[in-house]
Amino acid sequence: MLYRESGDFSSTYAEDSQTFPIKFDRYRYYFVLFVAIFVIPFMINDYWVNSLFLPFLIYAIAAIGLNILVGYCGQVSLGTGGFMAVGAYACYKLMTSFPDVSMLVHVLLSGLITAAVGVLFGLPSLRIKGFYLAVATLAAQFFLVWLFNRVPWFYNYSASGQISAPERTFLGINITGANTQAWATYLFCLMFVIFSAYVARNLTRGSVGRKWMAIRDMDIAAEIIGVNPLRAKLTAFAVSSFFIGISGALFFSIYLGAVEVGEVFGIQKSFLVLFMIIIGGLGSIFGSFAGAAFLVLLPVVLKIVGVDWLGWPTDIVAHLQLVIVGGLIIVFLIAEPHGLAQLWRVAKEKLRLWPFPH
């Protein structure tokens, strides 16, 4: 009954093109935002933040970034881990070189640096598509990890070859290093998530987004109606890498605190984020959130159910998780290529007509 568009009339084009045209949807969205900002920070402790909220928020940013490139612009990329590493190492170099500057600036600059690197590795996309492009981005993945492993300048010549985040502040509050508060790190990441989702939504609903989708759906027709393919693809690589760079910077500085590049930002990370957007939904901002939430929640839920309730050995549960994710990827690719977001959309469409579907 609540989910209705009857009585909701748009009298301007601006009203008609807003993100949540249905009133109920809009209020639900404001409610979620309110809870996320004003309720959750007061309820969480270190365990919840570190096992659930931080990975969810940070992966959501990475998923939004990759979704722009793969879901909206149709350019398959397997270099996500490498680009996250660029963000992390850029952030590390900035943090150690300019200790007095706010973390906000460091993270945003890391995003911009990653965007530049992304454009560089996006250049082959003009000539190659599909599988071949995926292999080219795979090269980027391995090259970047190799680079950060082999050039000591990137990890400040530390003996272990690792990078670890020194204590840095935002608005005078410690958010990196050993002495942090759960709510502070949570809110700092949430801020970037809201920013990323807002920017991604605005870009994808306007002319830039249409250029990307035109390239994705039929590049020849796109060029005929006036889309410059090189520029459209490179902006997609830039914007996508910008978000992925931000998520890499946060992943290193806020979430982990210390990083060994091959272990954290290896090819598994690229696949993990790719799985998120496949399960969540290609070409959907909501899908990026849904996919990130799903793949972050799955191990936690499995651990609670398997280890705590049923008393299974930990390694069996860990292997079971791989089996479930693998199975789900296949199921989604066959049954619902548009992922959880499409299921959500279908549910909403049904709800709109409920209880009189005919």
Binding site: Y13, L203, G206, S207, M213, A221, I224, G226
Partner: protein, 273 residues
């Protein structure tokens, strides 16, 4: 009548302007195959110009040369009084030439409205930064262009499906949406590659009416390829006939119909061995 450089008035009272595009001695080769052999033709402002010919005659290749998709090995393209340098298709689009495709080339993942709005892309120039903020410049531009797009949607009577994903539409509607997308660009020349292929009589009548209305209302110059002779003879002001990459006839529908070469090409002719 057709020798007047500034144009002429048709029998039904439409004003046809001077030559807007001229193809001079175009030759297009694919390896050893000559798709177009030394063809010259002109297109006048405001007219409906048909290109006909049997399959494989080089009609679509000609359209692809006009829209910048192929670059001819020989010959010149003159547009609005200046010689056009070899350019990319998106640059041709920016000059005001829009087209539809023989096999529908819509963006299947987008709604009808978004498809039509892609036609406005050459008119939208807000940068990435302002678009990421949306409020202000980007929203104003979006609204202004949406108004134009809605006018086209209204004109082609597809209001009811504007929020429907294109992949759910029927063939006839897809053709109409593709026309809408091309029209949304407000082109000075509109190229239609077989706009009525695969349609039934009713849909053909609808499409013919839309083509005439577009020409009448917006004064758009239209170049069309079509196999249905009845439609071509009724719609077009002048007809070019191609066969095996050569031009075998050019003139009013009446002239072309009585041209012996054309009759031979279509009906076949006995060769004396």
């Amino acid at each position: 009548m057709k020798d007047q450089a500034d144009g002429y008035v048709t029998a039904d009272g439409r004003q046809i302007g001077p030559v807007v595009m001229e193809m001079k001695n175009i030759t297009l080769r694919f390896g050893g195959v000559e798709a177009i052999k030394d063809i010259s033709l002109d297109i006048r402002e405001g007219e409906i110009r048909a290109i006909i010919g049997p399959n494989g005659a080089g009609k679509s290749s000609m359209l692809n040369v006009i829209s910048g998709f192929y670059v001819p090995q020989d010959g010149e393209v003159w547009y609005k009084g200046a010689r056009r340098a070899a350019m990319k298709p998106f640059q041709v689009a920016e000059q005001g030439i829009a087209r539809t495709f023989q096999n529908i080339a819509l963006f299947e993942g987008m709604t009808v409205l978004d498809n039509v709005m892609t036609g406005r892309l050459t008119h939208m120039e807000t940068g990435l930064f302002w678009q990421s903020l949306w409020k202000g410049k980007a929203e104003r531009e979006e609204t202004a262009n949406r108004e134009v797009a809605e006018k086209i949607i209204d004109f082609l009577e597809i209001q009811a499906i504007r929020k429907t994903p294109v992949s759910r539409l029927s063939y006839g509607l897809k053709k109409r949406v593709e026309l809408a997308r091309a029209l949304a660009a407000e082109p000075s020349i509109l190229l239609l590659d077989e706009p009525m292929a695969g349609m039934n009589v009713e849909e053909k009548e609808d499409m013919s009416r839309f083509i005439l209305d577009v020409n009448d209302e917006f004064g758009t110059t239209i170049v069309l390829i079509e196999h249905d002779m009845g439609v071509v003879m009724d719609l077009s002001d002048r007809v070019v006939v191609m066969d095996y990459g050569k031009k075998i006839g050019d003139g009013s529908p009446h002239d072309v119909r009585n041209n012996q070469d054309v009759i031979d090409a279509y009906l076949g002719v006995a060769h004396d061995d």
